[in-house]
């Protein structure tokens, strides 16, 4: 559900890490569909999921998601 625009670097960082959506989904304990919706900006993840994603990609939440200026 998109309440406010959120810029996401998830797809870039995931591909840089050589992971598929399914690989990342397995690492953070969600389905591939959830990763897909986060990458497409359709779904804004919870704080917990954002932290899990950041940890799985060895980055910070701010490195993954940014608010537009």
């Amino acid at each position: 559900m998109t309440d406010a625009p959120l810029l996401s670097s998830l797809k870039t960082l995931r591909t840089q890490a050589g992971l598929t959506q399914a690989d990342l989904a397995e690492r953070v304990g969600v389905t591939r569909k959830t990763i897909n919706t986060v990458e497409n900006g359709v779904f804004i993840p919870s704080t917990v999921l954002a932290l899990k994603l950041a940890r799985a990609l060895s980055t910070t939440v701010e490195g993954l998601f940014q608010l537009p200026d």
Binding site: A25, E26, V30, T31, R32, K33, T34, T37, V38, L49
Partner: protein, 151 residues
């Protein structure tokens, strides 16, 4: 032979759930036609065929509501069930419930407005409201789930 990961099992179960939640509301609407053609003039006591029809409708409604509420995957383990009810699924469910609420409110409003002109039995009203309460959230949920799967 390779064993499927929980993610792969969940994805397959998710597709099955979507098919079920897509087909069943269609069945509901077909049923609706059959119900109103045979039950339009209710007679007491109900015939066996009507009792079976009403019972099956109620049973299917309960199964669908349970499937929608729990996420399904009942024959799978805890891990797969958790994946079938992950964050995006819960968000889709919340949106589906909201759509169901508005559809139900509009349906009740329409029935209220039609009341002085059309005579409807309690059973018929319950049948209409239950069908809307089940079919609209189910269809909305499937729409959102399918859209989420697209790249």
């Amino acid at each position: 032979m390779t064993t499927a990961s929980p993610g792969e099992i969940a994805e397959r179960a998710q597709r099955r759930r979507n098919r079920m939640l897509w087909l069943a509301p269609m069945l509901f609407f077909i049923w609706q036609g059959a119900f109103f053609s045979s039950y339009a003039a209710p007679h007491t006591p109900l015939r066996t065929v009507e009792l079976v029809s009403l019972g099956s409708h109620l049973f299917l409604a309960l199964v669908l509501l349970f499937l929608l509420a729990t996420g399904g995957g009942w024959r799978h383990g805890k891990v797969v069930r958790a994946l079938l009810d992950d964050e995006a699924t819960r968000a889709h469910r919340a949106q589906a419930y909201a759509a169901g609420f508005w559809a139900l409110a509009l349906c009740a409003l329409a029935l209220y407005a039609a009341a002085p002109f059309v005579q409807l039995a309690t059973g018929e009203i319950a049948h209409i409201l239950l069908s809307v309460a089940v079919a609209v959230p189910a269809l909305r949920f499937v729409m959102l789930e399918r859209r989420a799967d697209r790249d």
